[in-house]
């Protein structure tokens, strides 16, 4: 069923408010999405009726809390085509990337080994591995980005050719360029050179917007976060092959994650619980289950179709506007709906201020992609990102603000 934006908008309370006397135009879902009523209700239900701790409780409330928490694992696994035993809850995608960096990469790679990363990564999927490389003495190799905003797969093939790449980390969809990467293609390329290599993908910007099936993608590990897919903040996941999790050490230790403890040591619980020390985010898990149901009800294919259509409208309008340069792929077939651009002669911060005065929320800055910014030769961009509650009505206030910014700052400037 096609996306009915007007109906969907009524489910998001934030979208009903005004900002500075203007209709709220929320174009920052790549940073965080808005929350539908169903997610708010699920979290409230836990706090109002089932509040108790998970696991080991022998009373009804604790059973309900455990069901709420474990139900999120099942729901998320179903959404992305994974085994629930491979779903480790983390506080966000950054922690998921750190979990594989600490639990696997740091314990496995050393001098003489190499890790493949890309120039377009969000810091979350780069810094944990660079940090590990500096401590452990292995090499990090970067797949460059082509002029048109794609990963250079020919260069990637050269980078893995010597068979020393034992781990690869790259993003499914770029948070800055919007590029949808050829995940199976790059994964196959890495494994052709070294069949034992582990492939880790950052799916933060993919799961909220596209149908994702981790089994079909052929990856070993996949990071995602709840707050960009209509869920609450504070919950994300590392979705990994349970066999890989078995080979990993925990990053955090303590309660919940043990099988037995003595005064001199401990044995670990089964996966995935071994990686979830301490009382987890129970209300957030309940909210995430509702967010998954919300996405499933809309249908990931319908979400993608809506964004392809609306994204094309935005891309065409930005291409027609004076002094706007869009970064990244130019057709929606190659990209998601996070659209970064520069406004000629106007700093992104000033663009952001002009748009804010019109109730338009965009993100300005380096988008946690400083190496990519250097590659593009700029310090910052403006990024407008779309989701199911956006429609063509959101375009006019954006274009109006951009024109006003050009008129105020770019015209008549002598330096």
């Amino acid at each position: 069923m096609p996306i009915d934006v007007a109906a969907i908008r009524t489910e998001f309370p934030t979208l009903a408010r005004e900002v500075r006397g203007e209709r709220l135009v929320y174009l920052d879902s790549a940073a965080t999405s808005q929350t539908p009523e169903a997610v708010l209700a699920a979290m409230e239900r836990y706090y109002r009726t089932s509040r108790s701790n998970v696991h080991r409780g022998v009373y009804l409330l604790a059973e309900e809390a455990t069901d709420a928490y474990e139900g999120a694992r099942t729901a998320l696994a179903r959404l992305v085509g994974a085994d629930p035993r491979g779903v480790v809850f983390t506080k966000n995608a950054t922690e998921a990337c750190n979990l594989i960096a600490y639990g696997y990469v740091r314990r496995t790679l050393g001098p003489g080994d190499a890790l493949l990363c890309t120039v377009m990564e969000h810091h979350a999927n780069m810094v944990p591995f660079v940090h590990a490389a500096n401590d452990r003495g292995f090499e990090v190799r970067y797949v460059p980005v082509t002029e048109d905003g794609h990963l250079d797969l020919a260069e990637a093939a050269r980078l893995v050719a010597d068979g020393r790449v034992r781990f690869a980390a790259f993003t499914h969809v770029s948070n800055t360029l919007g590029t949808i990467n050829d995940v199976p293609g790059l994964a196959a390329l890495v494994r052709d050179a070294n069949p034992d290599a582990v492939v880790h993908v950052d799916g933060t910007q993919a799961v909220p917007h596209l149908p994702v099936d981790v089994a079909a993608l052929g990856v070993d590990s996949y990071a995602l976060t709840g707050h960009k897919m209509f869920g609450p903040t504070g919950i994300g996941a590392l979705v990994a092959d349970p066999a890989l999790l078995e080979r990993m050490e925990p990053m955090l230790t303590g309660g919940e994650m043990i099988r037995d403890v003595t005064l001199t040591g401990a044995t670990w619980n089964d996966v995935p619980h071994r990686f979830e020390a301490g009382t987890p985010m129970i209300a957030e898990a309940a909210g995430l289950t509702a967010a998954v149901a919300f996405l499933e009800e809309l249908g990931p294919d319908a979400v993608r179709a809506h964004e392809v259509e609306l994204g094309a409208t935005f891309l065409a309008a930005l291409a027609d506007a004076d002094g706007i340069t869009v970064h990244g792929p130019t057709t929606m077939a190659e990209r998601g709906a996070a659209i970064s651009f520069s406004v000629d002669g106007v700093h992104p911060h000033d663009v952001g201020a002009m748009l804010d005065a019109r109730g338009v929320c965009v993100r300005v800055g380096h988008h946690c992609c400083k190496p990519l910014m250097r590659e593009l030769g700029i310090n910052a961009t403006v990024r407008a990102s779309l989701h199911v509650y956006n429609d063509a009505d959101d375009l006019e206030p954006l274009l109006d603000g951009l024109a006003a910014a050009r008129a105020m700052f770019a015209v008549g400037r002598s330096a």
Binding site: H349, A357, V364, K370, N379, F409, G412, S414
Partner: protein, 158 residues
């Protein structure tokens, strides 16, 4: 749009469109500093020349938003030709003003007084302060006997 007018006063836009003392170099400079704010991507170079205890030369260049570049421009006009101690006093007046206090030397701050309204926009305060903090650092650098320094502002300037 009323809010926005306080941020983008006509004098600020004038300094942004027609910057004073913006130049890539300064002949016979004594110290140069590079200050950046990774959060918003502002980059600023400030070069100073000090003769007989007087700030007799200042040039700046960089890439930044209108607030940071206009503030550096207005600052250059306010401080050039003043004794170094006097300059540091003005830096402190401006810093206090950006933290919401009433500045004591309105006449000496000149055009820089219009940045008073920026104090109401917490995320932009660091932009307005960038040039002034770079100038203070350039003077410190010179006094230490160094000729260059590089500073990254991770958070709010102080």
């Amino acid at each position: 749009m009323g809010e926005l007018d306080a941020l983008y006063e006509e004098i600020i836009l004038d300094h942004y469109r027609s910057p004073r003392n913006r130049a890539p170099g300064l002949s016979g400079e004594d110290a140069q500093v590079h200050h950046s704010n990774p959060l918003c991507g502002d980059e600023l170079d400030v070069r100073i020349r000090i003769r007989d205890g007087v700030l007799d030369g200042l040039a700046y260049d960089g890439d930044g938003c209108s607030i940071s570049l206009a503030s550096a421009s207005a600052m250059s006009v306010a401080v050039l030709g003043r004794p170094v101690e006097d300059v540091l006093g003005l830096v402190e007046e401006f810093r206090l003003m950006m933290h919401g206090e009433q500045p004591g030397r309105a006449d000496d701050l000149g055009d820089s007084m219009v940045f008073e309204g920026v104090a109401r926009f917490p995320v932009r305060v660091k932009c307005a302060l960038l040039g002034w903090m770079a100038l203070r650092d350039a003077i410190d650098t010179f006094r230490r006997g160094d000729d260059a320094n590089d500073v990254t502002h991770e958070d709010q300037h102080e």
